[in-house]
Amino acid sequence: MTPPDDRSGGYRDSALRPYVLTKGRARPSRNTISVDTLLIATDPPPPLPVSAGRQERALLAMCRGLLSLVEVAARLELPVSVVRVLASDLVDSGHLTARAGSPRSAQLPRDLLQEVLNGLRAL
């Protein structure tokens, strides 16, 4: 017998709103982290506070190797905006190291463009 009308239909306890994961913040603690900022866990990693959530732990585990922020977000199936806030905190607390992504300036330095061009031609 299947209940004709499941009153819990549509309810999923994993459907946490993004602002819950980020403890109510929409903006990261630092604005230097962009989609292509490269992240890697600090080695050896300082112990995480007991208050660290599942997402923070998953993020750190994912960053045992070098990945960009957007790759981490896609692999964890979390919005980039959420991972940006979480990663920012973990950089602040010394658990993650960030390597510069694209510069915030409007134009890339010519030497970097030239390096990309050479790299593409060498493929």
Binding site: P18, V35, D36, G65, L66, L67, Q107, G119
Partner: protein, 212 residues
């Protein structure tokens, strides 16, 4: 085929990589953005989604506080490691305005934009919104690549330039998004154009350097 890490590193970048560069692959729905990214990416293209709850934007609309709707916008992307030191990220972006509003900062610091167009009858119009967005919102160097579908009828570059109202210096080239060499050729043309454009900007020209 794209090179795949063979050291069991599960798709991680080599730790020799210190910098990353973005290229945006922009075009209307179904034009071949993800296909092109997949042709050159060393990782299987990944998808990331962003969800926003948009509040009604009406000014003085006090009754509108309950007027919220949720928008989900997806973005596919891929990656190429260059010379072991630079990670090049390719982001596939649709033309719609709402995408650029949501992915604020995506275009910032990008090397340039590869605009993919489909010139088959009735398809070119879908690209107009893309070009509007490029001119109004993001000012980056761009080249136009015509993705050749089996039934694409070749057009002259001049004809296309007129139809899309492009400047004479904007490069137009043909490509087959499914073909790695062809897709790489389009990316190379874009980066070359970005270099050419940056050389033209007076601010970047060193002053009082004697000609050797």
């Amino acid at each position: 085929m794209a090179s795949v890490p063979s050291d069991g590193s599960a798709g991680y970048l080599p730790e020799t990589v210190t910098r990353s560069v973005k290229i945006l692959v922009v075009g209307s729905f179904g034009v071949g953005k993800t296909t092109l990214i997949g042709s050159v990416s060393e990782i299987a293209p990944l998808r990331t989604e962003e969800t926003v709850t948009q509040v009604s934007e009406g000014v003085d609309d006090l009754t509108g506080v309950d007027d919220k709707r949720t928008t989900t916008v997806a973005m596919d992307f891929g990656r190429i490691t260059l010379n072991g030191s630079v990670a090049l990220y390719l982001f596939g972006a649709p033309g719609q305005r709402r995408f650029w509003d949501l992915w604020e900062g995506l275009a910032e610091g990008a090397a340039g934009v590869l605009v993919l167009v489909d010139t088959r009858p009735g398809r070119l119009e879908a690209s107009f919104e893309v070009f509007d967005q490029l001119e109004l919102g993001i000012r980056l160097p761009f080249v136009v690549a015509v993705n050749h579908f089996p039934d694409t009828v070749p057009h002259g570059a001049d004809e296309l330039r007129t139809a899309l109202d492009l400047l004479p210096e904007t490069p137009i080239l043909d490509c087959d998004a499914r073909d790695r060499a062809s897709a790489l050729n389009a990316l190379t043309a874009l980066v070359q154009h970005a270099l050419d454009v940056s050389a033209d900007r007076p601010a970047d020209v060193p002053q009082d350097i004697p000609v050797a």
